[in-house]
Subunit: 222 residues, 2 copies
């Protein structure tokens, strides 16, 4: 209906999204003020409320802009991996989920890297801000991958599969959130710029964890 008829500056909306994205990734949601955002974006304070209605509206828009493409690519890769007809390979399924979001790091000039960190953090604190966005955007994708993983690991119960996906998700989220600090934390031992290497290591780690027979005796206590 009503839409952009022109662009007064180089698009205030984009500038706001980019500025918000990087500040949110660095400081978190609550610690990032609209004045900090608008000042970094070199834009008037009122622009946020004009373009996005509220601070919350801006934040949701930051996520929505990136999440859609990533999830589309995930599903495309999964379809390709399963399209072979044969039983899908676990590593390929995991890689389909991991690679698209990891590749955001290449997108540094366009802010993808910074969003990667933001996304990693958000998985830990899905406040009320993002409830609906997550239900609409990520839950369907997660369900699709759950089914695919269950096809790779038919011997696992739903409960067991859920736990292992949870652990794997934690490893992924932590990596997304911390990758920019890893070189420092490891005292130079790790090279996070080797993205393909990181993806392979993570996928191998999670695949092994998912396939383990374990030595546990699972006596579920009532």
């Amino acid at each position: 209906m009503k839409k952009r008829l022109m662009a007064r500056s180089v698009d205030t909306r984009e500038r706001l999204l980019n500025a918000a994205e990087s500040l949110l990734a660095e400081r978190g949601i609550e610690a990032t003020s609209m004045r900090a955002i608008t000042s970094l974006a070199r834009v008037n304070l009122a622009a946020v409320n004009y373009h996005f209605g509220s601070k919350e509206g801006l934040i949701v828009a930051v996520y929505a802009r990136r999440l859609g493409p990533v999830n589309k690519e995930r599903l495309a890769l999964l379809a390709a991996a399963e399209g072979a007809g044969a039983k899908p390979v676990l590593n390929d399924v995991l890689r389909s989920y991991v690679a698209p979001v990891m590749h955001l790091i290449h997108d540094a000039s366009r802010g993808g890297e910074v969003f990667m960190r933001l996304l990693g953090r958000s998985l830990y604190e899905p406040g009320d801000y993002l409830g609906q966005l997550f239900r609409d955007e990520v839950e369907p994708v997660l369900n699709t991958f759950t089914a695919a993983l269950h096809r790779c690991l038919p011997q696992l119960s739903s409960e067991e599969l859920f736990w292992r996906m949870h652990f794997g998700g934690g490893a992924l989220a932590y990596t997304l959130a911390q990758i920019h600090r890893l070189e420092m934390l490891s005292k130079g031992a790790c090279d996070p710029k080797d993205v393909e290497g990181v993806i392979s290591r993570l996928v191998d780690f999670v695949a092994a964890g998912m396939q383990t027979g374990g030595q546990q005796v699972r006596t579920k206590k009532k």
Copy 2:
């Protein structure tokens, strides 16, 4: 030197620590105001600055109170596991690190459960608040466990070990942070109250990931 000579009420300090702990776990640091804390603790607003100097002082005290005992127990369990003299078993080492912090959940009446969640979140955003505390309290423990793990997995390079510890740490942190929501997220499939079960599953998962041979070709790019 100077210390508590009496306790006017039932110890304002404890009440503040408990109130802060639960609010921080629920809402995060920035979103928790001192007025919310003092009101929950039924204590005067100025008490925070009197007893802890500042909001930051209170927060650091919240962590310090729990972190010390947990890390002591970790080291004790590790010593017991390695004391056998023989080469330590990977699962035992991992369990020594995981079990003490997971057992905080039993401590619900004394706020341990709520701290568990707070700790999980904090691992994602170690802001400047906790820098020194982490350097003093957790880094030495982490180094001890790194050495023990390297003894279990001598075939791994330092780099490879670091990556796998990182992934495992992510799985742990995520579990700590989300355990109170897991029953809901899994639509009832998971029972997070079976703490020993959760520990076993997590330890098995991480142990498998750490031991994987992988099928990767690691051509580190310059």
